[in-house]
């Protein structure tokens, strides 16, 4: 029996166990499909329609079919810069979460019993408070007269406050805090799935720590890395409260620009168009990264 035959047989077996009858999966996803169709697809279609309408301040929405909202966004360097800036912010947050999350996830996956339970709870902690409360907490810590600056100044380590808020630094710090659990949990699942006998085999063959990590742990946890990155990246892109409260108007990200158009300027069509540009960008990046992970797994 060749290696590829073994693989095929395994796949076949997997198919049989996960798909006992053709109709059952459909039956199971129907409620979800209905929900998504009603509350996700419906409003999205409505949003798509609005994004093609016109707007005249003082008169309201004008019912036409036009693409000018999209061209207004795409041909304006200011808005393109907002899009690029948002993606860069998302990438920075994702990279930080990965670097900080990997060691954490590794220890979590190795912990057992009560230790694991306590660690698990601590990691989930940031998700247990509401966004607004958590953000206000960060404001108290990061402000010019906040805890961090006051402490540093009383220790005479700095003379004037370090600007931690009202700029992108504070936003990255706060976003990493709240999105880290998603990264850690995704990585934890992947790391737990690694067969421990592989490590024993590697050690038997004389491999050491760094080599085991690079040849076994890292490649086998790649699916977790990809799904964690996807979760964190999309979360960072769509964050609204954190950039608004911590950075304020100085930092322009897609979500705050959409809010300004839709809520402060009441220009729904332009706001809807920006929202769609963001949606399509995220979708393209997601498909690309999933395809990449697929290729990595097969390689």
């Amino acid at each position: 029996m060749t290696a590829s035959e073994i693989k095929n047989e395994q796949e076949l077996k997997q198919e049989q166990t996960t798909n006992p009858r053709g109709t059952l999966p459909w039956f199971l996803i129907t409620p979800n499909l209905l929900l998504i169709g009603l509350f996700m697809l419906g409003p999205l279609l409505l949003l798509a329609r609005i994004s093609l309408e016109g707007y005249q301040s003082g008169q309201g929405i004008i019912e036409t079919w036009q693409l000018s909202n999209y061209s207004k966004f795409l041909f304006d360097p200011f808005y393109r810069q907002v899009l690029v800036g948002t993606l860069v912010l998302g990438a920075e947050v994702t990279a930080l979460c990965l670097v900080l999350g990997y060691p954490l996830a590794y220890s979590l996956s190795r912990a057992r019993g009560l230790k694991r339970a306590v660690l698990y709870f601590c990691i989930l902690m940031p998700l247990l408070t509401s966004t607004v409360v958590r953000t206000f907490g960060w404001m108290i810590l990061l402000a010019n007269n906040g805890f961090i600056n006051k402490t540093l100044m009383s220790l005479r380590l700095i003379e004037s406050p370090v600007r931690l808020m009202y700029n992108v630094t504070g936003v990255i710090v706060a976003l990493v805090e709240v999105l880290l659990p998603f990264m850690v949990l995704a990585l934890d699942t992947a790391l737990l799935n690694i067969d421990l006998s592989l490590y024993e085999a590697a050690r038997n063959l004389g491999a050491r720590g760094p080599r085991i990590f690079l040849r076994i742990t890292l490649p086998l946890s790649l699916p977790g890395v990809v799904s964690g990155c996807v979760l964190v990246f999309t979360g960072a892109l769509s964050a609204f409260v954190t950039p608004t409260l911590i950075a304020g108007a100085r930092l322009k990200v897609m979500s705050t620009v959409i809010y300004q158009q839709a809520m402060a300027l009441l220009d729904w069509p332009f706001g809807a168009a920006i929202a769609f540009v963001m949606l399509v960008t995220i979708a393209v990046l997601l498909v690309a990264s999933l395809q990449l992970s697929e290729r990595l797994r097969n390689a």
């Binding site: 200011f78 404001m139 304020g248 100085r250 300004q260 809520m263 402060a264 300027l265």
Partner: protein, 351 residues
């Protein structure tokens, strides 16, 4: 399943069904109208509940008020989206929002006949066609920390003083406080609504001094409370409200004068509870409600019959002469240019 358990579950099911059937019946018995109204929430709401909602419900036991929190432009957005099926009956919004809603045909005009208290308002607070009514006013002011700034600021030019670098906040232009500051700036810089060039030039100079551009009152309150800023353009009522909580803050109307800012109530066109809505709006204009609002949240009364307590009269802007002295911008013109200004502000000031 045994017969006993089967019978029991049947009985429970029947009880639940009867319960559902009784709900509408109970509602008819009470015959209460539920009126949904908006307010600005937060510290403002504490006062509004005591000054208006509670006494109103006491006077009209057949009307139940449901309060929802909406900021001005969220309200206009909601009015637009509920156009075909009105769910929220009365909206609280300022001139900028209300005139936008009026232009889009979303408000139900009122008359002195339907709102008798309208006749008691200072004439300055009546709007053309009475499309909505104004229940309070305040002045745009400079709020400052008296512990840090001993001499009250004399002029809006003080914001450009290098000693305040990094210790001031200027509201973003998409909020009404920010817009009022911008209108004052037009005056101090010799600009006009049609030529805003000098105002933007001045803002570019000020830009490095500004710590942040808040958008909501709560954010300014936080900045003053934490001591991150010592001076900012704000409104008289909000500064006093924060001072009443023990925060070191005072306000001054500098020599350039202040902008008259107003809070209004607009009834949604197509409301299913017009009669109750009219009663509610009329109540908010009454001497009783306005005096209570002045006491609780320092809102200046628009009703000319209100006699303020002596110490309150010293604190808050009030009276015909004050109303006349404040600047009344041409909101229609301002609204037409607002989007354009904000777009430029985004690119040149907050970028």
């Amino acid at each position: 399943m045994s017969f006993v358990r089967f019978a029991l579950s049947i009985r429970i099911a029947a009880l639940i069904l009867i319960g559902f059937a009784l709900v509408p019946f109970a509602q008819i018995c009470r015959a209460q109208t539920e009126l949904v109204v908006t307010d600005y929430g937060g510290a403002f709401e504490e006062g509004w509940k005591k000054a208006v909602i509670e006494p109103f419900e006491k006077a009209h036991p057949d009307i139940k008020i449901k309060l929802v929190q909406k900021l001005v432009f969220e309200s206009v957005a909601l009015m637009r989206s509920q156009k075909s099926d009105v769910k929220v009956d009365v909206f609280m919004m300022d001139e900028v929002g209300a005139s936008q809603a009026t232009a889009e045909g979303l408000v139900q005009p009122i008359t002195p006949k339907t709102i008798p208290h309208l006749n008691e308002l200072y004439p300055e607070f009546r709007v053309p066609g009475d499309s909505f009514c104004k229940f309070m006013f305040d002045a745009s002011v400079i709020a400052y920390n008296p512990q840090e700034i001993k001499q009250p600021p004399q002029s809006y030019k003080d914001f450009w003083d290098p000693k305040y670098k990094g210790r001031i906040a200027i509201n973003n232009l998409d909020s009404t406080t920010g817009l009022s500051f911008f209108l004052v700036l037009l005056k101090t810089e010799g600009a006009t609504v049609d030529n805003v060039e000098p105002a933007f030039a001045a803002m570019k100079q000020l830009k490095p001094s500004i710590l942040t551009f808040p958008e909501q009152h709560a954010q300014l309150a936080q900045l003053f409370t934490q001591g991150d800023i010592v001076m900012a353009p704000w409104t008289s009522d909000r500064a006093l409200l924060l001072a009443s909580k023990g925060v070191p803050i005072a306000y001054t109307i500098p020599k350039e004068g202040g902008i008259l800012q107003e809070g209004g109530l607009a009834i949604a066109k197509g409301t299913k509870h017009l009669e109750a809505a009219l009663k509610y709006v009329d109540f908010a204009l009454s001497v009783e409600a306005q005096l209570a609002n002045a006491r609780y949240t320092f809102l200046s009364p628009t009703n000319s019959k209100v006699v303020l307590d002596a110490d309150l009269a010293k604190k808050i802007p009030n009276g015909q002469a004050t109303v006349k002295a404040l600047t009344h911008p041409d909101w229609k013109k301002v609204n037409e240019r607002r989007a354009q200004w904000i777009d430029r502000w985004n690119r040149e000031v907050t970028q």
